[in-house]
Symmetry: C2
Subunit: 333 residues, 2 copies
DNA sequence: ATACCATCCTTTACCGGTAAAGTAAACAGA
DNA sequence: TCTGTTTACTTTACCGGTAAAGGATGGTAT
């Protein structure tokens, strides 16, 4: 019932606990015979080191915390998959939290991760309201990587993200190239990268498009339901828009639903472009045109930056890795 | 830099560490004034308990381990989301591992979770090859819930799953009702629940259908690529099948790809039915008919069974929660 | 006056490991 | 022969908490 400890091994062999510890940690000052006896006993009793005790003395848990806003959104899940692969290969575990787009839950998850002494945190923040806490975390030496987010400019941490203005430009430019005139934008939540996509949209509409109509930008969000609601609103406007760029793919999918419910066709009546390149976006009823950047790379880079910072060698300055976005044209535009 | 500890608080106030501990744990034998002074100091120094140290003495980590075969498969991710919601509300954290359908990685993840002293493990096993380890885990008092799996019948653990034979019956029966004759099955990997889906298929074909042709059941798997490969093989057969029941939705999607590549139409030429009700299955190019059972309930039930078993009150016998499957008819059939 | 009790806090031990310092024995060099 | 130096361990202290047992103090019952 009680698991085997080093104490037990030491007692059964009549050696000290330290001796056992040294054998297991490959210290040089143990005799060949003793080493063999210890290893045999370890095998016999099926001893496994207690990672909690280890963490307490070594002051590292070999665990990273991840906080993402939405577990149902494949974008983040794919990032987590990239993280998991990179991290588990190096013996690290992943403590996964979902903030459900709720800043309060995000805060409590971050506190929880700190209490658990995770070696580092990967955060895709839902809302820029936890600056104080994040600053406290980094100030006390906590390693942090912000992914896909660029709020908190003063924060001393690594960042892995894409060029969101370019995302907006690519999507909007593409719709203009396709001859669309009344191009609406379903805006995201009030976080910097959503605003940048909107800025890219506005810039392109002004410089290359038909300019900005008064009702062309509607508040939306990052979730399915947000896009649906925003599209409903857009469909009431006259004259009708002939294209929409949604802040991300789930919102674009919600918009598609609303368009079909209104009896309109995609892309004939209204073209739709998203962002993020969600899983199975190519298998949708109308395959979704989107702007894509590598989620696998995002996860992997985040893991590497974090593990470097944690590791024995001092880190250089905080890095800002920008992944290039590219347009993925499918049938919805 | 160094985080505040109870020791520091005790020293600054001139009381013992135990006094501080008692205040924080709401013990009764502390005077009102002392209690107030401690709480004030806790506030002032921003003290947060070290969960690792706590875990060591209390012998519980407030952490559950989850091992799923595939992070890219929304089926499991939705279960994890259900788990996360149920578990984080009760102060538990989730250590997430992906076995990538690889029994060896599964084994090492399980060992890792055990070393980390997680209070319980939720496992969707990739392959029934780690029985010995799982038995050792349960034998030493480890709490375990198997989800969506029913291998290892002797294992003393809870199970939350669906009636997989019924899944096979529903899918196959539906295709028969639609007048299909040559109904093929893309089988899953060699785990019990995949075999049961196949058994349900075979049973229904024999009792209600046209019987079993020789080449109607092809080996496949649970992933996109498996379904694609299997369907390619099926398409070579003459006369051509007019329907396919794939072991799960990703395989069904892979099959759809192969069908379209062959220049055939769904459902006119070949009807397709999956199982699992993947996210956005209703938004596919041809919305996928599938068999569905609640993933949210699966995750929640697993969490509850585990937390009950961990909790202070003794558990009853190991439970086997069966979630009823239901047919979701969409356009692919 | 004495025993008994409640209140409030401290001492000590422990969880399962690791690291630094200490020591005993064997051996080498001068 | 005496002083180093290795080699192969052990002792001690510590990580940051919790729990059980142990006082000191003052009040109450007899």
């Amino acid at each position: 019932m009680t698991p085997t400890t080093m104490k037990r091994i030491a007692e059964e062999l009549g050696v000290s606990i330290t001796t056992v510890s040294k054998v297991l940690n490959h210290h040089a000052d143990i005799g060949t015979e003793t080493r063999a006896r210890v290893l045999a006993k370890v095998e016999e009793l099926g001893y496994r080191p207690n990672a909690v005790a280890r963490s307490l003395t070594l002051r590292r848990t070999n665990t990273l915390g991840v906080v993402i806003p939405d577990l149902m959104h494949s974008f983040f899940v794919e990032i987590v998959a990239g993280l998991e692969a990179a991290v588990s290969a190096r013996g690290y575990g992943l403590l996964l939290c979902s903030s459900s787009e709720n800043p309060l839950k995000e805060r409590s998850e971050l506190e929880m991760l700190r209490a658990r002494q995770v070696d580092g945190i990967v955060l895709a923040s839902a809302h820029p309201s936890n600056t104080d806490l994040l600053e406290r975390i980094t100030a006390t030496g906590g390693a942090l990587v912000m992914i896909d987010r660029d709020d908190y400019p003063r924060l001393r941490c690594h960042r892995v993200l894409t060029d969101d203005e370019e995302v907006g430009r690519l999507a909007t430019g593409h719709l203009i190239d396709r001859g669309r005139r009344a191009i609406a934008h379903i805006a995201g939540p009030p976080i910097v990268h959503a605003k940048r996509r909107e800025a890219g949209y506005r810039e392109t509409m002004t410089t290359r498009g038909t300019g900005l109509g008064p009702e062309l930008v509607v508040p939306g969000g990052f979730m399915d339901a947000d896009g649906y609601r925003a599209m409903k609103q857009l469909l009431e406007a006259q004259p009708r828009v002939d294209a929409v760029f949604a802040a991300n793919d789930p919102a674009a999918i919600g918009a598609m639903k609303a368009i079909w419910e209104a009896g309109l066709r995609i892309p004939e009546d209204i073209a739709v472009v998203g962002a993020g390149d969600i899983a199975h976006g190519d298998m949708l009823r109308v395959p979704l045109t989107t702007v894509s950047w590598s989620k696998e790379a995002l996860g992997r880079q985040a893991a590497e930056l974090l593990l470097d910072q944690i590791g024995p060698h001092p880190v250089g300055p905080f890095k800002r890795v920008v992944l290039p976005p590219r347009l993925v044209v499918r049938s919805s535009s």
